[in-house]
Point group: C2
Chain length 411, copies 2
């Protein structure tokens, strides 16, 4: 009689038929004896419809009222799902974020959960009701409706799982788990049975958009076992767990990549203390986020070359800003390239296995792929290469690290 | 600096453009110095859309969840109206029924308001915010969302006006007031400046569907001056007020009619005590509502004829039932007619003016309109006539009682 939290995203509840399919899946867990708490998103398309109404009135709708508006999306889904659950033979009760209550700060449109009072929900579960909670929303101290911002429904699910000591938090989505890399790029990509929280964070931030980063962080902080599964296919999905528990012996868990990057270099900057700040300060002030940063000594020994990457959408703005900085600092030149990609190897196994980096560089060299930037962290190595080498690079690395094979593992 | 409560129905807020027009109207009242609390319905069509979603899942959706679902309709409107008000230069804040809070009983889909805690709303009004409240909804003691049933938004407005001691409760709709009769039947029909609560109750229940009966009853009970106005046209509308205050000297205020009736007669029933119950009990048990009831002594003196009217939709069912009853009681015959209408004169002036009934009967006789049933109350006289005489009957009575002319009045 464990408590399972299940979260279904917008695509999974996008039509009445899909809501009924979700009800059948929930009912199966319920009838197997588990207590089930379900967190739902708005039906796909609904949030955009509501935003459209707001924007027809105002380009900058009042944040408080935007939350009042958007929170109706999940409220519709939760009511419909309860109706479908009743038909599927489960007694069910729905709760808005405010009804639960999920207490947040007052930062409308991007609120953070402060506390969950689970006593009403718990009482319902104890009476063998399925409880359906609206994701993405909460209520502040003064009783105002808040929303958690994009992807907030995952966070709601994890927070409820933590507050109610659930055995597992299952995130149902349109993919059936986390893969060694994107199967559209490497058809041999393999679904992972397990992945650690740290790896998942690196995978997510590097572009494998399966789970929201905040939800993963939250799950890690509160030790909530998180599982990613498909709403449309049967299967065990991928369990996101703690390193200590993971028995997979792989050096590398997966290969992430990101096509949204652009690279900027300022060449021949006089090498003096504080130069990084002088270069990146104006970029930050223009609200441009910087991803990778690399600094090299220049050819002459008294100047330095400084390279960083930004989102491709910010490339032009960043270049204009950097040219102003170059003039002010007396730098030789500014160079930019927005036809690059970042490829990253991710794996906690890296910590205990030497030679990962050299195997990576060797593999890319064999394919004549020129590495334009390198950056490393404890559990990942990222390289920037020309965009046209993305598929070749990912596939050759996938093969070199034998990711298509199941590692020695109990999983 | 009076407090005005304004209520806008679904048609008045049916599109973004109409919501912006409502905002301009509210802003005008606000900038004139009044405090304004606005009650809104769901955008027209939205409630039907939501009901459609529910019915795609279940013919009998869970009442609790239907309320959760339907209450989103008003929540969308209130958020959009606040955004539009901000653009129109008023600071505005929205409240769901639960946020206000409007405490109701737990009868989902048809809850009744028990109490209103106006302190949050009052504090906002004192700070010169326009407050926008979702109509039609509340919350029960346990925190469950409830709805008040059809037309409940009018009731919300009146209840808030009563709780906050508003100077006036203005109901904006798609007609510009209450008329002496339906202008589609009698083009000379005149808008009334005032009408009493009692008259309004008779007019509404007789088919002039301007205001919900429950809202009118509520307003009468709590002495809330109620005004019906158009959202689309300028004008003073019709003030619904207390008899003592009404100075209009008319004998008759208006002529209501109802096309939805059907007549059933059971002839030659042995006249004995309890016969009315024996006839109407089975009808009530079949959940059929009875409107007019008339009993006459039969031709032979020992039997009686018993006639009543039901909604036209219930005619067949009622007839089947009545035939069973007739057999059981040994009655001679059952007759039915579903091509009838009821025409009613309504007016508090009737109390002090004799001869109204005879003028009515004389007028109809002159036009050769045969009266099939008569029923009277303190402030109305109703007759049933053949359906084909509806227009002729209404117009001749309108002329006979000079309703097109303004009465001697200060209004």
């Amino acid at each position: 009689m464990a408590l399972i939290v299940q979260k279904y995203g917008g695509t999974s509840v996008g039509t009445v038929e899909r809501i009924e399919a979700v009800a059948d899946r929930v009912a199966a867990a319920y009838h197997s004896g588990d207590d089930v708490l379900v967190v739902v998103s708005a039906m796909s398309g609904e949030t955009n419809r509501l935003v459209g109404l707001a924007q027809a009135i105002s380009e900058n709708p009042l944040p408080r009222e935007l939350d009042v508006l958007l929170s109706t999306g999940e409220q519709v889904t939760m009511a419909l799902l309860c109706m479908a659950l009743e038909k599927a033979g489960c007694s069910a009760r729905s709760y808005t974020g405010g009804q639960v209550k999920i207490l947040t700060d007052s930062a409308h449109n991007k609120a953070r959960i402060k506390e969950i009072d689970g006593h009403r929900v718990k009482a319902d579960l104890e009476q063998r009701n399925v409880v359906v909670v609206a994701g993405f929303q909460g209520v502040d101290e003064a009783g105002n409706i808040t929303t958690l911002g994009r992807g907030g429904s995952d966070t709601t699910a994890v927070a409820l799982a933590a507050a109610l000591n659930a055995e597992e938090c299952q995130i149902y989505t349109d993919v059936d788990g986390v893969y060694t890399t994107d199967p559209r790029v490497e058809p041999k990509a393999r679904r992972l049975n397990q992945i650690t929280f740290e790896e998942m964070l690196e995978m997510a931030s590097l572009g494998s958009k399966v789970l929201q980063i905040r939800a993963v962080e939250f799950a890690g902080k509160y030790n909530v076992p998180l599982r990613v599964l498909s709403s449309f296919k049967e299967g065990k999905g991928t369990l996101i767990t703690f390193e200590e528990e993971s028995m997979e012996q792989a050096k590398i868990s997966g290969i992430a990549f990101n096509r949204d990057e652009a690279k900027l270099t300022i060449l021949g900057v006089p090498d003096q203390p504080g130069i990084a700040y002088k270069i990146l300060g104006p970029i930050a002030n223009a609200n441009i986020e910087v991803d990778m940063i690399v600094q090299n000594m220049g050819a002459d020994g008294s100047t330095t070359d400084f390279t960083f990457t930004v989102h491709r959408n910010d490339f032009k703005r960043a270049k204009v800003q950097l040219e102003l900085t170059a003039k002010a600092l007396g730098a030789r030149q500014v160079a930019g390239d927005n036809e690059i990609v970042k490829i990253s190897l991710v794996g906690v196994g890296m910590r205990s296995h030497a030679g990962i980096a050299s195997t990576m560089f060797e593999t890319l060299a064999k394919e004549n792929i020129n590495i334009r930037m390198i950056s490393t962290s404890e559990i990942k190595i990222s390289v920037v290469v020309d965009e046209r080498y993305l598929e070749l690079g990912v596939r050759s690395l996938h093969e070199a690290f034998e990711l298509e094979k199941k590692p020695n593992s109990k999983a």
